[in-house]
Amino acid sequence: MMLVGNIATVVLVSLGAVFFLAGTVGLLRFPDSMTRLHALTKADNLGLGLVVLGLLPQVDSVPGALKLVAVWVLTQLAGATVTQLVARAVWRGGGRS
């Protein structure tokens, strides 16, 4: 059982890291603000989600697991809002920056 949990952790956290890497590459390489935001939100959303999912088997208490999930949910909430705000600011500024 421990082994299954450990394997799940390694696989899921590595997958999450891949998403973060892809998001960072997108942030550096994409041509304008809108597409860069798109790349960033994918990293926030899926990357962090996979990392949290991967860490869950390593937590030994239910409150600890709930805290991890809460971190992901709150990051989603804040990330989505900030993305909206940045996108609107870019839009008002002429669509490009």
């Binding site: 709150l74 909430l77 804040a78 989505a80 809002t81 909206q84 705000l85 609107r88």
Partner: protein, 316 residues
Amino acid sequence: MSLAVLADAALVLLVLGLALWINAASRAFPAVVGYVAFGLLLALAWLRLSAGDVAMTEAAVGSGVTGAVLIAASVRLRAAETEAPPLAAAPPALPLRLLALLLSGLVTAALAGLVLWTTGPAPSLADQAVQHLPGLGMGNAVTGVLIAYRALDTLLEKVVLLLALMGIWSLAKDRYWGGIPGPSRIQPTNGALILLARLLPPIGIVVAVYILWVGAAEPGGAFQGGAILAAMWLLVMLAGLRDAPAISRPWVRLCVTVGPAAFIAVGLTGFALPNGFLSYPDSIAKPLIIAVESVLTLSIAVILGLLVAGPPEQEP
């Protein structure tokens, strides 16, 4: 082990690189954004040093609240910056810059030398401090030290916050004195921000109270909890759901002063009951400390919120 060293080295390089970048930034706004990120990286560094309390304070106050104050300041300065870039206007002469580089390099080298070449363990009072903590009912040594051994420092910190707020208020024009801080933001335009400002505060208030409560035993405490409360309040103000209160309101004045006042009152009773200013009677040390911390949290939250809101700019 070597992997951890590698990660730490990367963190240190990142912190130093970001610090250089912030100094080289030509405009205020990118520099401030860099400063906020710098604070979060520093928080990570504190965590690696097992200083959870410092990390939380750095993230909440150093990066969060100070970042908000600096962003507000840089937005105000933006107009002046585009007219005549003050940063590029008169760079210091080369000898002066070289001298600054030399002196700061010397300080860094001396500090590094002290850390790297001293032999034996560093002198520490940690053991003695931890020995007496059970008498206070505190499991978290940092909170115990802050609120009991160094109570005078902690009290003065709060008074300094109060003085800073007075300094900001004193920038108000005469006709706005006692008025509402900042330009009015009540304009329901941004749905996403309004949604966040309605969803997050209930969660944030619970988290703030939890952090205050858990501060007795684990990383957390009045400053961190107060900063989170202030953030929730600022979110509501930024989303335009509520304006900041007029600073002449009695409840504002009460909230701002009640924390330091309660601290001083408890400190003075130390003369009557135990043996001096700011000493707690053993039997009720923990309830007393938690009561003081709770009131302090409220004051810190209101003061930090008003610090970011700025000087009054609307008539009362």
